[in-house]
Symmetry: C3
Subunit: 356 residues, 3 copies
């Protein structure tokens, strides 16, 4: 459970969490950050610790483009430079706090935790379905705060066999692990695809799709270093003819509502390390059916949060059990479905080694 990759974007907040009225404190990669919007609406990310006497700046006040410390009034601009010390005209040299590059995209606020010169919007996953007017988006708000190392969540999202055990009451069925996965890799992504063919729908799938008979269902996860995970799931009435490894795009999904022929949605998952033993989890769902149906929005909000809460409980218990001993990777027995997760762990380790 090594160190963190610094040269990466990380989801720091939902766009709607950051305002020009109230600073937001959030710790990422062990760094205390304070986020706020300047007068132009741009998000600023500063060190949440005044350089004077270390009060969190998040307890201060946003004044125009600056943040004023709530203890003695030292004031910092968007670059982290101290621009005012009450009671004196001269600002002492080196009076500044750290600042990080910020990107607001796909409704997330992203911060770049490493070398600013290497930051670039092209290094984000492609989550344009968050902004596509033909898709309906439900954000997991607030983000989950989980007492576990972030890679435990990476493992979870790349091994969807756990749906048969953790999520059997809503999005899982006992048939899931019976179907093989096909894994492929690029330089910085791992892809896992599974087709669950001619099987009864999971309770929530039956409800969403109005299915009474067996269905064909796909799980297509694409994880990107260090911890972005796009899971595309969907289903059709049984008999679509898919083979292991087939791409969902090759199978037409006629969507449009509960009683349509099938449906599809994305789980977009950004896993942000807070510390070595705690993690922020930002998830969203984007669906191309029942797009203008507020009731369906509410069902997604409630039912998927319930399902993911079960993951949170599992991960917390897993971390707690691991904490009883110094963890040695050899303590773990690996099984077939761990392949994608282990591949991502190797990629992350290599990326960290490469930057240090």
């Amino acid at each position: 459970m090594g160190p963190f990759l610094k040269n990466s974007w990380y989801a720091a907040a939902w766009n709607h969490e950051v305002s020009a009225d109230t600073p937001l404190a959030r710790t990422i990669l062990n760094e205390p950050l304070v986020l706020f919007r300047d007068s132009a609406g741009r998000v600023v990310a500063l060190e949440d610790r005044c350089c004077h006497r270390h009060l969190p700046l998040s307890q201060g006040k946003i004044i125009g483009d600056t943040l004023e410390c709530g203890y003695h009034g030292l004031t910092f601009d968007g670059t982290g430079a101290c621009v005012k010390v009450p009671g004196q005209s001269r600002v002492p040299p080196d009076s500044r706090v750290k600042a990080w590059p910020v990107l607001e995209k796909y409704q997330y606020v992203w911060v770049w935790m490493g070398d600013p010169d290497k930051a670039g919007a092209s290094l984000l996953p492609d989550w344009h379905v968050m902004d596509d007017p033909d898709w309906a988006v439900v954000k997991g708000d607030p983000p989950f705060h989980i007492p576990c190392h972030y890679e435990l969540f990476n493992d979870n999202l790349l091994d969807l066999s756990h749906l048969a055990y953790v999520h059997i009451k809503n999005i899982g069925t006992s048939a899931v692990p019976d179907f093989p996965i096909v894994t492929t890799k690029t330089e910085n992504t791992v892809r896992m695809i599974r087709w669950i063919l001619d099987s009864p729908p999971a309770p929530l799938y039956a409800h969403f799709g109005g299915f009474t008979d067996n269905i064909d269902r796909w799980q297509y996860a694409e994880a990107m270093v260090p911890s972005f995970n796009t899971v595309r799931v969907g289903c059709l009435p049984a008999g679509c003819g898919a083979q292991p490894g087939d791409h969902p795009d090759d199978f037409s999904v006629k969507s449009g509502g509960r009683n349509a022929q099938g449906f599809e949605f994305y789980n977009l998952n950004a896993i942000t390390p807070e510390t070595e033993t705690s993690t922020w989890y930002f998830y969203a769902h984007s669906r191309n059916f029942a797009v203008d149906d507020p009731e369906m929005d509410e069902e997604f909000r409630r039912e998927l949060r319930g399902a993911f809460q079960d993951d949170v409980d599992i991960l917390a218990a897993q971390q707690s059990n691991m904490d009883r001993h110094v963890h040695n990777p050899k303590d773990w027995i690996d099984i077939n479905v761990d392949g994608p997760g282990l591949a991502l762990r190797r990629m992350v380790a290599e990326a960290i080694a490469a930057e240090t």
Copy 2:
């Protein structure tokens, strides 16, 4: 406050706590255990940590004679061997969790934490009064969980002078410390006997026995390595003629109810280390009077739990005060009544030294 004796039985649960429906998690000697009953009703004790990704198995499901992990469905039999990995036919080598010998006796579930070849039912204390139909049993349920090292509780149970201070409102009187103790030893037991003669009854004794005049009372404790403590207590109207060291058996107790000539009961105490600083306390009472009186059962349940809660509070405060400094046995002044407790501490230390 050294290590633990491994080659010993420890009380892990009450018999009624372990079922074939819901696994029970309990940590003993720093080991996380999960307890359940198989289809034949036999209790199984396994490591509460899946060998795959370390989820507590106690969050899983009992299926016949096996336990299924709640994360990915790996399944373990009563020996700890993994017998099923969903999605693959082959079980990886070394896929197993630890298992411990279990004995169900005297209404307790006992586990043997050391070398299985050395386990034997003869190494338990003789608590047949738990099963004797002529005696009425009240179990302390649930067991107390106490934030202290288990030997602090050993000390407590072998020095009953504390009844004059901790339990003055129920089972103690100020006369207790005025009467001398007689201590004897065998290879692995320490015996302490005290007669409190011609003294007013403690409030609960007066209530139980209907006494209005002075009584003769005995306290006969027998502690066995590492932490089993049998305390036999009782009383008669004053004038029985006992001398220090006399055995209670030599004095007839005509029992049968509140207004009988006297009464007697056992406190059976199994102290189980959870960690170096936390302890499970299983206690039961077995009495040979008012045997079929549910009201007397309820009084024992309520009044003795109240009394023992006072011990729990004392032990927690004692441990907390000791934790302020690295504890050195020389920091303690010893007094006469510490003799039995110190003798048991030496026996436990020798037993631990002998096995390591």
Copy 3:
């Protein structure tokens, strides 16, 4: 954030907190103390840890001039000597707990934590206004318990520019930092004076004094090693003619009520280290206006506690932020108003060095 000065008085309790009925536990400089009154009403301060088995003596009973342990009844006199061991006539040698010199003065109970031969009442700050019948006293009861190192509070009380930020809703105004401070020193005190001239009154000052126009206000803080801080504050209608550094005594304050020409009061602050990261804060107010007005008492009690709670929150957040890293004094940027606090820190460090 070094060690503590031992040869000093520290406020251990308010006089009304210590009784002959119930022992009071309080930890000071990492030492657990128990305080009680003997039969003559004198306060005794003993180690809160029985020399026998380390139970806190504060869980025991006051019996005349002695304290009886609540576990086995060992009894200690006011010098800490064990004078009784139940069940035996002989008290083992070295059976004693520590005792500390106690002084009851100015409504505080003070304990001397170092060499008893060096204790003396002359080493207290002069807080006779606590006993002056012409002044009305409101004690901060109970004392605040703050999760911070005590020197953070020393800093706070010597830099009153924070009133413009932390206390803007009650006792601060934005003008405070605009006026210069004058700092003077004696061997073991640091004095800071600031005049805030011709400025609007803070909300609570307007309320107390009935001011509608600008005022002249003084802040006169005198801090004594290691952590006694007397802050004398007051105001007059604007135009008193004071210059930076002028002593408040040179300006007549005609007091007597809300609508008087001006008013003055003392904040008396005793900061007592509990541990390296926790602190007791005893504060009191003594005013020479509306002396017999219970409503004004109540306003002082409520409003100043509210204001000081804001300090407590700041200090806790500051300490918590400092705890994220090993603190290095060089991590702090100093500004002008830190002068008095830094001077006191140097004096405390020198006093500690001198005694070790």
